[in-house]
Symmetry: C2
Subunit: 471 residues, 2 copies
């Protein structure tokens, strides 16, 4: 129990003890103090309120005699249970996110956001944490560098170079608590009203964020090579947001030709940039590694973004952004006073986790785990090979299924729901202003995520889907 | 060692093994692969690059024979030390924040931002963390609620009510990684170009942040009651940023009359609000507790902000913001898709730390620790009682010293620096556009922070100050 900040009035009609009594009585009656809660000791409260101890004694005696509180020998004063009065803490329904409230109603939920937490190395994480939480690491509890601790940035720059071919110095890296936050910071760097181009369909969360910035957004249709560069020339686009290694949701990989075109477009004007969101490049199950676009960027035109939330765990709120030199200078001039949003303890844990090789082992393990699920999903879907076409496979944590037998996306989603299976319409990732769900009518494609499902769930889910879609 | 994302060209003049050899050789020569680093196994790299294992074997053999790498029996291939070639990782000076680089040059630094980490309960924190990092807490590694986990919000709402008289329901609370982040989020809620009033002097970081929002800022002079309400009527001010319990840097407490005036001003128009930054209300050493302004707000006009960074440790990047109902609705409509910036693990640790009573004990301990330093500082300054006037004492982690013997702020700072002591001019907290440090000329006041200093340092620092200021 904390001391109670009772506002005593000296010129009140009521004397001090009555004011204290009234306050506590009301707190109990209104359920703000709950049954079983400990009150501050009379000495402590008197000290805190700067009144005589006897004043608090009087107030407590009155509360005792009226049954609001009870005294436990050697332990102090506690609030009594008063059945009629105690209100329970009511948790309003609205605070529970809709997604959660729909969980549990599904036999199988093919969410593209699901991840497998069974592979998380609790033991290692706990051991590293334990070693770090140590008196000799006092400095970890002090404020760290705005861009993130240098050691972690060195580690990230080496990892990115090695795994993704990204060329950067540690000082180009900004560590932040999640991509959403880094995009907010990027707005401060790029400025206001920056015309931006996005694919359609695209990663809807990024779309919402740019919209909340009031950025004029132009959606650009994709051909087989990804974003069409012609469209960028129009409307004074300054920024293109792309996912060249694995477009969400289509899974498309941008070929080298289109990459070169985009880099050329960006280099034509000083204030043009490409945001490369390399959100799940860690998971690729077939074929050669897809290099990052940043690896080919010689003019400093790519803002490279990545995260550990997908590869380690969503609760690890550590993302990073690699700024080209020109933007780094703006960041330093205008934004470097924003404190880092990741605690130094968490930065240090992650740094050791990567440097000691655990991250690599974890990635290898998860890649195998996800590949097995991916392969199983494709295998289970074979009976439908005449009715559906599969795209976006061999990478990431979801695949796309397009119906060949005339079912629309809406019908596929609805029929799946009837048998307790949740699939996700491609149109949910479409950006369509003022068109009342037209995309959902014309689309024949759904997303099936497999990251968060067990092998048993995948088997059962697909078997239900087959019955729902072929009846 | 991660697999290397080598971009192999099939139609190159060079065969595949040469391309691999060239790539690794260049990595070593350019210092991107460092001496002692382990290369991927030939099997793993061949698998990753989708080439025959013998291709990688050839490349490695060539590198071996030229002395770039060495083979260790049963362990694998490692990069050799090549003295002339290996570049060290050069850490550019500019990445080290200026504050840090000036540390260590001072015999005593009276920074107002210093905190005492010796009181941090490492043992308890470690034990709570250990218990939480447990396979059965799998759900902690999943994405949490955008506003912060409900349990933590319930705990914070109860703490705020009890300690600060704040009246709020858990759903009004938004948890975020630091005040800077919460202010960024608040910009999204309040909107653009919102005219805001701030004290002068004020908390400079908040000023910089509002400026980076391009908010038109009006600085309002303070009288003994704090911000003058008359000035708010002009210029269409919509928001006033205040610290009523303990103004930074002056330490002024806003009396009830001025609070009522401010609340009345805010209630006159629908879109007017008060931001109450209650940044260090935990530390008050004399007198009655100062209630929060939010406690008197009946019209839903106060946005209440607080942080655990000051009370626990700066590395604990957990702050909170209590929104009035009208703004909560805007948040839900427009901003609730922004992911929470604090990891669920950290939220859970903090929640248990508070609920199990450790936070209260920690606060009591720190309050005593800081009070002792505060009292010692005042005691040590007694010999100067004719030369200086002390204000802003009895609360927080700094005091103000105004010279009575004609020394300007600039002279006080400079003379202190000559004896190795750092004090902070009040003018550093002044907002003065286009005036070239005029405030520093007219000010005769410096800030002395004591939170981060030991008792010995305080004694030595003050004794040096006395010699510097009275010679």
């Amino acid at each position: 129990m904390y001391d109670m900040s009772i506002q005593l009035k000296e010129n009140s009609e009521k004397c001090l003890y009555e004011q204290i009594y009234d306050y506590i009585r009301l707190e109990i009656r209104e359920g703000k103090l709950l049954a079983g809660e400990k009150l501050p000791s009379t000495r402590s409260l008197a000290d805190y309120l700067q009144v005589a101890r006897s004043t608090v004694d009087y107030a407590y005696d009155q509360l005792l005699s009226e049954g609001y509180i009870e005294a436990k020998p050697y332990r102090g004063y506690y609030v009594c249970r008063i059945e009629d009065l105690q209100k329970e803490i009511v948790i309003p329904r609205e605070t529970i996110p809709i997604e959660d409230s729909e969980q549990g109603e599904w036999i199988c939920d093919f969410s593209p956001n699901g991840v497998d937490m069974s592979g998380f190395p609790f033991g290692v994480w706990k051991r590293i944490t334990k070693n770090i939480l140590n008196d000799s690491n006092n400095e970890l509890f002090a404020q760290g560098e705005a861009q993130g601790d240098l050691n972690l940035r060195i580690t990230i720059s080496r990892y990115l170079h090695s795994a993704r071919g990204v060329n950067c110095r540690p000082e180009q890296i900004i560590v932040g608590a999640g991509n959403d936050y880094l995009l907010m910071l990027l707005e401060k760097i790029l400025g206001r009203h920056v015309p931006i181009a996005m694919d359609n369909p695209t990663y809807k969360r990024a779309y919402k964020i740019f919209k909340s910035f009031a950025y004029p957004i132009t959606t650009v249709n994709m051909d087989e090579g990804g974003m069409q560069v012609d469209a960028l020339q129009k409307e004074g686009i300054r920024i293109a947001y792309i996912m060249p290694s694995h477009q969400f949701p289509t899974g498309a990989v941008m070929p080298i030709g289109r990459r070169t075109e985009l880099l050329k477009w960006a280099s034509e004007k000083e204030d043009r940039y490409l945001i490369e969101d390399d959100y799940d490049s860690e998971f690729r199950y077939r074929g050669k590694p897809i290099p990052s676009l940043q690896a080919s960027d010689e003019q400093g035109k790519v803002i490279y973004m990545g995260t550990f939330s997908k590869a380690i765990a969503p609760a690890i709120r550590v993302s990073y952004m690699v700024l080209p030199q020109s933007l780094l200078e703006i960041y330093r001039r205008d934004c470097s006073f924003y404190s880092c949003t990741v605690s130094r303890i968490d930065q240090r844990i992650l740094d050791e986790f990567i440097r000691d090789g655990y991250f690599e082992r974890h990635l290898n393990k998860m890649r195998k785990l996800y590949r097995d699920k991916h392969d199983l999903l494709l295998e289970c879907l074979k009976p439908l090979s005449k009715q559906i076409q599969i795209t976006g496979e061999y990478a990431g944590l979801h695949i796309l299924i397009t119906s060949l037998n005339g079912l629309t996306e809406r019908e596929m989603v609805a029929r799946a729901a009837c048998v307790g299976v949740r699939v996700y319409g491609l149109s949910e990732s479409m950006v369509e202003e003022n068109s009342d769900g037209k995309a959902a009518d014309s689309s024949k494609t759904v997303l099936l995520g497999f990251g968060g499902l067990s092998q048993e769930e995948i088997k059962e889910g697909v078997s239900l889907l087959i019955s729902a879609w072929t009846k």
